[in-house]
Subunit: 349 residues, 4 copies
Amino acid sequence: MISVGIVGGTGYTGVELLRLLLRHSSVKVTVLTSRTEAGRRVDDMFPSLRGHTDLQYSDLDIELLKQCDVVFFATPHGVAMKHAEALVAANTKIIDLAADFRLQDLKQFEKWYGLEHACPEILKQSAYGLSELNRDQIKTASVIGNPGCYPTTVQLGLAPVLKASTALVDPSSIIIDAKSGVSGAGRKASLGMIYTENADNFKAYGVAGHRHHPEIVEALENISGQKNVFNHILFVPHLVPMIRGMLSTIYVDLTEEGVQADLQGLYEEFYKNEQFVDVMPAGSTPETRSVRGANQLRIALYKPQPKKLVILVAQDNLVKGAAGQAVQNMNIMFGFVENQGLDGIGLLP
Amino acid sequence: MISVGIVGGTGYTGVELLRLLLRHSSVKVTVLTSRTEAGRRVDDMFPSLRGHTDLQYSDLDIELLKQCDVVFFATPHGVAMKHAEALVAANTKIIDLAADFRLQDLKQFEKWYGLEHACPEILKQSAYGLSELNRDQIKTASVIGNPGCYPTTVQLGLAPVLKASTALVDPSSIIIDAKSGVSGAGRKASLGMIYTENADNFKAYGVAGHRHHPEIVEALENISGQKNVFNHILFVPHLVPMIRGMLSTIYVDLTEEGVQADLQGLYEEFYKNEQFVDVMPAGSTPETRSVRGANQLRIALYKPQPKKLVILVAQDNLVKGAAGQAVQNMNIMFGFVENQGLDGIGLLP
Amino acid sequence: MISVGIVGGTGYTGVELLRLLLRHSSVKVTVLTSRTEAGRRVDDMFPSLRGHTDLQYSDLDIELLKQCDVVFFATPHGVAMKHAEALVAANTKIIDLAADFRLQDLKQFEKWYGLEHACPEILKQSAYGLSELNRDQIKTASVIGNPGCYPTTVQLGLAPVLKASTALVDPSSIIIDAKSGVSGAGRKASLGMIYTENADNFKAYGVAGHRHHPEIVEALENISGQKNVFNHILFVPHLVPMIRGMLSTIYVDLTEEGVQADLQGLYEEFYKNEQFVDVMPAGSTPETRSVRGANQLRIALYKPQPKKLVILVAQDNLVKGAAGQAVQNMNIMFGFVENQGLDGIGLLP
Amino acid sequence: MISVGIVGGTGYTGVELLRLLLRHSSVKVTVLTSRTEAGRRVDDMFPSLRGHTDLQYSDLDIELLKQCDVVFFATPHGVAMKHAEALVAANTKIIDLAADFRLQDLKQFEKWYGLEHACPEILKQSAYGLSELNRDQIKTASVIGNPGCYPTTVQLGLAPVLKASTALVDPSSIIIDAKSGVSGAGRKASLGMIYTENADNFKAYGVAGHRHHPEIVEALENISGQKNVFNHILFVPHLVPMIRGMLSTIYVDLTEEGVQADLQGLYEEFYKNEQFVDVMPAGSTPETRSVRGANQLRIALYKPQPKKLVILVAQDNLVKGAAGQAVQNMNIMFGFVENQGLDGIGLLP
């Protein structure tokens, strides 16, 4: 049984972490902080937790956090890095669900997040928490940068072809047309997020540039071992009038080898031991509701034109795209069975 | 470990039963039937189950069902009663999620369901599966009529005042203004149920009469021990553009004793040992999303006028209103811990 | 052709007024104010207006407003009353879509809105803008208090029985279970209003008391000519996950005369000349989508129990419940055909 | 005043045609047919029309249709072509909202629609009703094939670059990631269309092939005057949980000339006289709700990478994508002002 702290427990990733961790049999959540709600019971703010916990929010007290085995940061960008040194020194592990430990390229970090990095040395030793692809580094890391929701779909969607021994796709041709439910924007009092501005509506956003673009580029470089070929890929996110769920439609040109390859077989083989990545049978279309509330990502492949591959990737942005993958990383770090606390079945309908 | 059969596994209550039972550690689902999908894997129809089961649909084979310890009927009305005798004779318990064993009054059953009852003797010995109120009968019954979704909210919302030692409310004054998500209508190809006819829309339905009215009347008579005082209560259901969730707003006139009584205290006391019934603090408003996917019912009380009580009751119609309560009844029948397989936390958001 | 000013053009009632007034052939909108957006084109904020207007927001300039024939206030409560004297003196008519001129009872106004009234003398001479019931006063008034959305449904739903020559209903028995789409809460950056807090969710709110309760009480007193019999009626609003639309389900006990009366005939007769009030055939259930975007209110009557009347009333809260009725009142005040600019057909689907 | 017939008045395009035509001052709808609802009032089926028409459905009587000046077919594919000869002979014009007159390539028609064409000669003389691009042919045609909803967005989104005097884009690189509201699937009792299967969900469909692909290919060939370069473009439609609305995100590689060109200026110039096509200012993102109920299509352009163009195109699939464009075509055919009956402002919110 390990003790867990959550910093920033009033957002959607915070309450989602609680939903998962309160049912995890090797974990006890001992600290839950909030800048604004200290002293309030968490189940007063989130009635879904009534009957499941007596936790109260507290102010962020670094001494209390040091006593935890692991601390999740479900905070805005820039918070985790301020406290990383102290926690690492105290042998407390960190899983940051914000962006502080996602980008090794400090210039990109500063450009897109407008922050100077507070602990570049710790960043260098941190692991990028895409569980299926970086399991070995995650096992031994002290600090995990939990991936962004969109980048998770792109990496798991492309890894089998990018890691293949022969070049199957043209990396510069990648286009990611991504769609997310509104919870991806967090829990904030913002005019653009109110019900009446989003319901029965669809739009693109961030077309000129989105923070997940540099994360995707760096991650695909790491996966493929190729530099400078992904800089010009297109990533266009859209907002779907739904609460949870994310679907990325990825378009990529096939090489001659790619045209000949058994891609369905390649993907099935690549993920055959991964319980959280589901390569669906040919002809399937993954629906976001099939993973609602579940730490699951589903992939389907199409070749509607001879030289083009279309990869459909669906996940729950709050689970495999955030809190679920964070718990998966914790399981890896502490040697728990990887699906502990993560074997819930999604709500369909 | 008991073996479980599910008859009618292609509807929403069927897949919801599977979601719960596949995670129940004392249960193995061994039979799953469908008239139309025999031979098909259930996770082909419901991809949320991929990775969680290899079950296939089979035709209804009474011999196979007899080998089960308990059979759930997630079928249209009229199916369970046809097979009840054979199963009871084989010592297989039955939990019917349809209406065959809800009404003891055969005339009402025939009037509202247009069916002659196939086994009135078994009906007489069956128990009405409102878990919290009928636990003793459920424990020993062979056949359970699982309550309708609306009646569950009404009974648990009114039981504390109707069972009080003094008359606190005027039973004839009861008005139930009920609202349900669309999943309450099941999974059927019907024009009135399509997305474009229900989204961004609100309406009442069944105002002139609804099958749950006689069930509510009979149940309230049993709870209160009073006959003929509930016949003229009003029950008006409405359809909400949401998937899951049910809220009943119950209006009732208080007697002089009722005006004086500490009703909040009465409710809290009445349900103090019930983990699935949550009497919220005064001033709360239960939201359906706070119970999304959870076997939980929440109640809040208001006295906006001196002699009027307003009772708000929220549940997930597919869980506490259907499949969850069915599993709760199974747990009671087989002596399992009552929340086994039912301790999941709802998805909020 | 009259010149029209709109004060507060950045909310939903503001843009709805524009949608209607820009298509009204006897009107030219000349002034559109905003405290925060002065200098910005309105179609930059509301792209639905692109191609339909070149209007820009300006600061509130009372001299400019005085040159208008009529000024609509689509502002928070308390703004219109500050400018009423100046405008009335300049012979500019006022239609206030907020509450400043809804309640003649100043104590109730101060209690519920927390404001001292700025111009009680003008209030006394103002007319309450429920078009169908107060047409004569509206014709000659300088200042109109446009009704609240909920009170509009209640008044039009109850007027025929309350104005009948014999007592058909028990006024103290009235219960209004009302349901509104989210746009009723306006366009505000508020956590409680964001998409993820409202979608796929249903709840009651304001159960302990709502500002529309005193407005309903005063209005029903005026309609019926009876004082002190409506004080204890119940009014419980609920929030529906939809953009527009409102349905009030009104429950009332019938007197002996009421039980005998042809209520369907009474309603049809009462509204036979009202194009914006539709008494639907017996057995109908009005859906909110049937009035989406239309200045229309639909009523259906049920007697599910011999002595109980259930009145269903549907409208679009932003049209007949706000901007549409405001334009209807303007048409009455200026002698235009009453449906000018208001004959659009609702969007179904 | 012309007389208009509508064949197939029980679907969403049928009721949308009525919404528009009943407010068109030069038109009288005289015939409205339905195979299943003959004798029923249309406002009984679609209560939004109550108070606006007394029309009843009738059986399809070719003699009655011949007396119309124009007949709209809002029917399944294959109906209009059966009646085209008789109507053309009677000098009655035809606007078919199904696919019978969309494809000149008969093999493609037969392949995708499974029907042999009933009147190839009439097809040859028919005009493809993309109003802005084919105005001259539409003016004089007897028969119009009203474009599919997706193809409308693609053609208007790409026409300026495809019609430019120099090659600005690589035609073979076109990828169309399209998203539609559920009303695009029509009004049918189908399990896949029910509320609970679509709400809070997102998915691709028809990835392996969709009927609008050949229509897009043929249309782009006609627009560009180039054959055989569009056969391998990608078109992937997705289903959005909303009622109305369509957004196509179009990706295309720029040539060297294209990289240098002022594309924003090109588009603005191309559509400067088109009231129903709105080229939004640089940096805008068209939202579907900005055109809800309006015959309007909005375009925005992005160059997120130096050699890539992203074109966002939004419309209401039932209006500019179906019934609205059909009325626009009627206006062109009969010499009415092109926006007659089509100047309504969209509902936002």
